[in-house]
Symmetry: C2
DNA sequence: GCATATAGTCAAGCCGCTTGACCATCTTTC
DNA sequence: GAAAGATGGTCAAGCGGCTTGACTATATGC
């Protein structure tokens, strides 16, 4: 594989990820939620039984302070709340509120809308294959842009 | 395609793009260049005969002020220089210096290194197919993270 | 030739993140 | 079971990279 092809691959990955992210967020906003792109990825983590701020930090690839700040935001906007952590008095379990669940569903709908053109272009099986290949490639990459 | 799958696709795209970007930049730095991820994408545009700051802005998906600031940086670090634009006295054509070309080559090498594990895992034809599919999908997305 | 659009610059501000320091609680070790 | 270290969380300060806004100089269209 030529060297320049590798850079092109990166560019197109960023372009695809960026476009998708932006369109999902636009969709979420259009559905009446005050959100920014990071929320969606926080929600997917929180929807799996809640998480501590530090766990969230690891998931998003930011410091715990940044994650805690994000949780502040989510709490302030009514999407999440901090509850006592069963079995660790230091930690606080962050869980979604009803509105948080609604926003999560909105994000999923918006994501489906955003991906639809791709499905129409490539076919569902191709898109799924794309996702599976990427999952094999970068399963642990931070859900976070690098610049 | 299930709604949640679409979000997962986005997450894995971001993870892959982020990981790749970071590893390329690490490689460039390891080769002795003072760089940040945005440089690589600026270089690919500049290497095609130079560009104006505004063109660069469009390519990177930022304001012209931000692009101009990036050019300042590149000039200060010796990677590029502003030359007179033939045929437009307002504009300045930004072109790579010799060191800029060296950095570009370093980025390409680093990119090839970063992609190598993927090629070993999926095979070259699969990786190429991945790139081509993504290129069909998001040819005009900004080379820029969305959050 | 005048009106408008475009390339670039200067200046100010801001958002989201990081670094650093600290306390409270949990866990390890002896 | 007590001391020592690790870990979750918060407070505070700072900053990098970007945006918005205002302005000048050149180009272009009618």
């Amino acid at each position: 594989m030529q060297n320049s092809e590798a850079l092109a691959l990166t560019a197109v990955l960023l372009a695809a990820a960026g476009e998708l992210t932006q369109r999902i967020n636009d969709g979420v906003v259009a559905r009446g939620f005050d959100a920014r792109p990071a929320y969606g990825f926080a929600f997917t983590r929180l929807s799996a039984g809640g998480a501590t701020a530090t766990e969230l930090a690891g998931h998003l690839g930011v410091t715990k302070q940044a994650a805690s700040q994000l949780v502040d935001e989510l709490v302030r906007k009514g999407y999440a709340e901090r509850t006592a952590h069963p079995g660790d008095a230091r930690a606080r379990l962050v869980v979604l509120t009803e509105r948080g669940w609604a926003c999560t569903r909105a994000a999923e709908e918006a994501a489906a809308d955003a991906v639809r053109p791709w499905v129409e272009l490539l076919g569902e099986s191709e898109v799924r294959a794309l996702r599976d290949q990427l999952a094999r490639i970068a399963p642990y990459g931070p859900i976070r842009p690098a610049w």
